[in-house]
């Protein structure tokens, strides 16, 4: 039924929680914890939905997003961005970079499942 | 003299005595000098009597009281016109 989700997030407990939730909902979840080669990973895996944390080691989420959009294989992929700052400035920058959806931490479990589902369609 | 009615005068007139009055006040002593300090006086002071009083006496005292009366009139006019 469902497809592939790439989760780019540096907090191991959050990765664990989101993976558990999406896998239980039938998604195949790939994880990556580093901003450095995140876009490359995304191109290789070709997920249906990308979940991207705003604050990553070595590279910010926005930069990763720009790279994803720059790459032809991933440019059309829906990207859900997670942020812990929730500041309007970050949101505006993300939208400019071509984010599909924006979600502030902490989020409800149901919301992230529904959003991923919606983005995949 | 105090019974003179205190009618409100036109303000212009109050502020400055009229030029003629000021000039008269200035000229009065000259009149006195002319009448009392020129040889004119000799013409009126012959040894003759008028009404039992020597002419010289009546002339001098007459001029004198005349000056006083004129001075009083002018002083009142000047005084009343507010520039005393």
């Amino acid at each position: 039924m469902a497809g592939k989700v790439l989760l780019i997030e540096d907090e191991p407990h959050i990765v664990e929680a989101i993976s558990f939730l999406l896998e239980r909902a039938g998604w195949q979840v790939f994880t990556h914890s580093n901003g450095q080669d995140a876009a490359e990973v995304a191109g290789r895996i070709a997920p249906d939905v990308i979940i991207l944390d705003n604050m990553l080691p070595n590279k910010s989420g926005i930069d990763v997003l720009r790279e994803i959009r720059a790459d032809a294989t991933t440019s059309g992929k829906p990207v859900l961005m997670l942020t812990a700052k929730g500041q309007a400035r970050d949101k505006a920058a993300a939208e400019e970079a071509g984010v599909s959806m924006f979600m502030t931490k902490p989020f409800s479990n149901q919301a992230i499942i529904d959003t991923v589902k919606m983005l995949a369609q | 003299m105090k019974s003179e009615p205190e009618k409100p005068e036109p303000s212009g007139k109050r502020a400055q005595p009229t030029r003629k009055i000021r000039e008269s006040a200035a000229l009065l002593p000259l009149l006195g000098i002319f009448l009392l300090l020129t040889p004119l006086i000799s013409a009126f002071t012959q040894d003759s009597f008028t009404g039992g009083i020597p002419k010289a006496v009546s002339y001098i005292f007459g001029i004198w009281i005349g000056l006083i009366v004129l001075a009083a009139i002018l002083a009142r006019r000047l005084y009343n016109s507010g520039d005393g």
């Binding site: 907090e11 929680a17 | 039992g52 005393g84």
Partner: protein, 897 residues
Amino acid sequence: MQSFNLLVSICLLYVAALFVIAYVAERGVQEGRLNFLRSPVIYTLSLSVYCTAWTFYGAVGSAARSGLEFVAIYLGPTLVFVGWWWFLRKLVRIGRTQRITSIADLLSSRYGKSNTLAVVVTLLAVIGTTPYIALQLQSLTLSFFVFTGGSGEGTSTPFASVTAFWVAAGLAVFTIVFGTRSLDANERHHGVVTAIAVEAVVKLIALLSVGIFVVWGVASGPADIFERMDQDLLQSSQIFNGRWVTLMFLSAAAIICLPRMFQVVVVENSNERHLATASWAFPLYLFLMSLFVLPIAIAGQSELPADANPDLFVMTVPLAKGQGTLATLAFLGGFSSATSMVIVAAIALSTMMSNHIVLPIWLQLNKKRSPASDDVRTLLLRTRRISIGVVLALGYFYFQITGGSDALASIGLIAFLGVAQVLPALLGGVFWHSATRPAAIMGICTGFFFWAYTLFLPSFDGAFILSQSVIENGPFGISALRPQSLWGNSFEDPLVHAVFWSISFNTLVFVVASLLTNPNSMERQQSAQFINVYGRISPSSTIARNAEAEELLILAQRILGRQEAMNLFNQTAVSQGKVSGLPDPTQPFVEELERKFAGSVGAATSHAMLAQITGGESVSVEDMIAVADETAQIMEYSERLKTQSEELKKTAQQLRAANSQLLKLGEQKDTFLSQVSHELRTPMTSIRSFSGILRDSDSLPPEKLKHFSSVIHTESIRLTRLLDDILDLSFMENGKVQLNIAPVNLSEVINRAATATETQLQERSSELLRNPASEQIKVATDSDRLAQVVINLVANANKYCDAEPPQISVSCRRNGGTVEIDVADNGSGVDESEVELIFQKFSKLSGGFFVGSAGLGLPISREIMRNLGGTLTYEPGGAGALFRVTLPLEHTEPASA
């Protein structure tokens, strides 16, 4: 005949009554009651000090000897008063605006406030007045003798001198009591003036009563009296002659120049309008005083023996007719005349002497200390009292020396001429801008010399300085210099001769000297104040620019500077077609000047200044001074504004700096909050997710259940620690942290740190290397806090050290008064560019990434060390990372909390 004792009693009673009147008047005016005492009537009556005993008694004597001549003595003042609009009004206005205290003061003030001039005038006044006072004493003594049966010839008897002495002493006391009660700003003496006014009434009533008695009691009316007249008495055909004119002139001058007349006319004047009344009322008083002089003289001549003294007819005629009471009244009239004259003259002279002679000398002597005003007041009052005594003593001695001689009888007119010497300077001062101080002094001295030489000294008949032969033949026999006929000119009368020469030379010297000398700036200012005292000069034509180029130049030099002014004037002169000299003060030129001046002093002031010189506008010097004052105030104000605005500028700068500081702080705060938010949200995200999973999932395997619960537990602990750190840091940054300072051994601190980090170290299998020997150092500090720092550093090293296995070494050493604790690891260290970054809040080194670090450890440690009076630094250059803690052996307060 009245007994002498009765007469003395009457006099004493009369004087006592005057005392009471003067006292009541003084008090009344002070308390604001009795305002009628400031009326023009009182003023007019006080002017009657002109009529002294000499005129009271002497007018009849003069009439008996020379007919109508006596009238001239009254007509002169009449003309002056009738012509008050010309001169007296101005004099009174000047006296009031300039607060003049005497005639000497007036002249001194006009001529640049020259004290020399004041002294000259004062001496002249004293010399001229002393014989006059002696004359009053003589008249009084004579009148006493009339009643005690003497013939009037015996005034040189010891009895007469005793009488004169007591009269003089009594007058001195009265004058001192009422003339020096206070130092009124305007030197007005209401008590004295009122007493004088009462005496004036007594004089008038006395003379009128005697006159009426003579005309209607002795004779049967005016016609009858003149019928008894000696045909030669009036000498009316020769009435107009040099003496007539001279007497008129002298008396007119005297009414202005006599110190006592100046005192009552100008100084005691409380309202200028009183002068308007006095302008006719005083001549009327004089008219009434002289109305019966001729009849009394005629009656005396016809009724009394031929050898009777005509000077005493006023009393002897009633006495001869058995009218003792009337004669007593006449006596009181004479007594009033004499006393009022002496009192006012003494006041006037004492004012002059104290103000112009004693005070300047005293100020000279006390130059070093600045005199308190009370000092001066006391001094002035005292010297005035003494001066009054001196003046009366002089009069008394003069009377003693010359007593009874004919010299005294003629002294009245001699004194008139003496004081009249100030007339040219006075008139010039009030009407003539160019009159100068040296000219005034020279003129007065010249006049004084001629007066003394031609009239005063000859009046002693060879008894004083000029011998009889000099008077008759001239000094060294030079007949051209004979005192009473200079240059051989023979006047019919010595008085006319003296008046002519003294006044002529006086005026000549005054005028010529004025033309030859230049007034100084003070004189200029004062002359403008005096001459333009009315404040407005009625413009004589539409454009009354009658400025003097010279004056304009002086003003221009003052305002524009010497050179620029000269250039401007020369240019203008050339453009006006003048080869040399100053330009004409044409309208365009004056306007140009006005504009130029406006640049320096402002338009209004410039206009006022030029208007002052050119007379084109009605602006007084006072106005100018006011304008100048205003300008000065405005300038001072703007100066203050300038400083204020500078201060404001400074304050604004400081505010701007503070504002940008605040903005920066605000930004930092925003960043901090956003970081805090991020750090808090991260554990909360895990907690929320896993707790949600636990809640929603019914069938979780037990190991999953346990794992998820432990994640929630771990993240909760992380959250709590994060909050603790934030609060800790905040407290420490605000210096609110509580320190428990106690002596502690460093080994204890490091033991605690080792224990606390043991688990972490085991996780990474890190090795902690210690040097126990170096740890044996005692420090006074907060051991808990210091342990926290060491724990942080060890934990950090454990986290970030990139060597495997990590080795962390802790070593201590003393360095002077401080202790150093080094925490080092065997990793690659901190990049030089990141050294400052690591001490910032929430910073994570790019290389490292560990769960549970909020990045607050180093900032907190650094704050702790600051609070403990030490430092935490990163020491680069070593093999790995080396953090060094430095703290004092003894705890000291941090430099800034």
